[in-house]
Assembly symmetry: C2
Homo-oligomer: 213 residues x 2
């Protein structure tokens, strides 16, 4: 039998907004890796890509909130927290105040399109190369809605906009869309992605892009 | 706002059979914690309860296979690998040979009710109290079926038998069922679970049991 890396897509994930505060700076990113890893004591782990600005904030402050994204989420949430970097923009400057609230730990949590949130304190970090694994103690948690949690598969099938049919995209351009996060790269007609292309949003390689037109 | 530990149920998980071999002994258990935690290098983590016999085998040998359970799984798979311990029974002695195959690493993987499998080598372990977190390098992986992966929520709603209505259970007995794994504790009429009761299968406490009759 041959090795087939598509097996990686058979692993299941929830989707979360991980928020952090460092001084006056509030920020958040999308992550898919929050799980309970122990019951005595209760511990939750999250793996965050080192390229994310939120990663550095959690590493420095040892605190974050995890808002659990529900099936009732709008794609806008993913665009807002996933398709831009906190290094370039203040994600909370233009974010409607009715979409989030401040937790006791002074870190915002998302109230729109979510069904629960956790305030976490980092107990231990494990350096895994591209990512840091944060092993955290939940200091507070509550349920925000009865809606089901949004899995990565549900996001792919129901939340993420479907690729547009050929002819709907701007004339004469070639669009490559990241199948992981939805980021679109627009090139000249027939232009291929460079072989070493890395998605600026989710850091996945060229292999994870599909041609839209 | 009050702390509400039901938030823990909003975290999403896949479901897996983790198999290991130690000398002549083959064993496997159900786990819900396999996820990709880094991309460079590609790393998969699994948290296994120390009370599981498979835990000790993986810790000793540094190897295991993870078979990804699909939506087409039968409840029997969970009973076989989840509701009994490898300390008491040889789970592969009476397991139909058409339901599994041997991987290159000499460890069985499950072929019935699964959609992919991974052969993992343990790179690092993190002691988390009740569980050990195994951080593993996938040495081989492949897809076994196009079926969707079975999430924990799908298992709860579609695979696990529904609690029987009152009157269907043996007369005069009180049954408490573990809402986590389905284990049933049968007591005298009206008998309550002891306060310090721990599910013998999944190790969850009394709070996770519901009265069937």
């Amino acid at each position: 039998m041959e090795n087939n890396t598509k097996a990686m897509y058979k692993l299941s994930y929830g989707l979360f907004v991980c928020t952090a505060v460092d001084g006056p700076k509030m920020n958040g990113c999308i992550t898919n890796t929050a799980i309970q890893v122990a019951s005595e004591p209760n511990l939750i782990s999250i793996a965050i890509n080192k390229a994310n600005y939120t990663h550095d904030m959690v590493l420095k402050t040892g605190k974050c909130n995890i808002s659990v994204i529900s099936n009732e989420v709008d794609f806008e949430l993913f665009k807002h927290f996933g398709f831009q970097s906190g290094r370039d923009v203040d994600k909370f400057a233009d974010y409607p105040s009715e979409n989030y609230a401040m937790a006791e730990n002074g870190i915002p949590y998302i109230t729109n399109g979510t069904n629960a949130y956790f305030s976490l304190g980092v107990e231990q970090t494990v350096d895994l190369g591209s990512h840091t694994l944060f092993i955290c103690k939940p200091e507070f948690m509550t349920v925000l809605s009865d809606a089901s949690s949004c899995t990565y598969e549900y996001y792919q099938n129901n939340i993420k906009p479907k690729p547009q049919p050929v002819g709907q995209t701007p004339k004469g351009q070639t669009i490559w869309r990241c199948t992981i996060c939805g980021y679109e790269w627009i090139g000249e007609e027939g232009e291929d992605l460079p072989d070493d292309f890395i998605c600026p949003i989710c850091k996945h390689p060229k292999d994870d892009f599909e041609k839209v037109e």
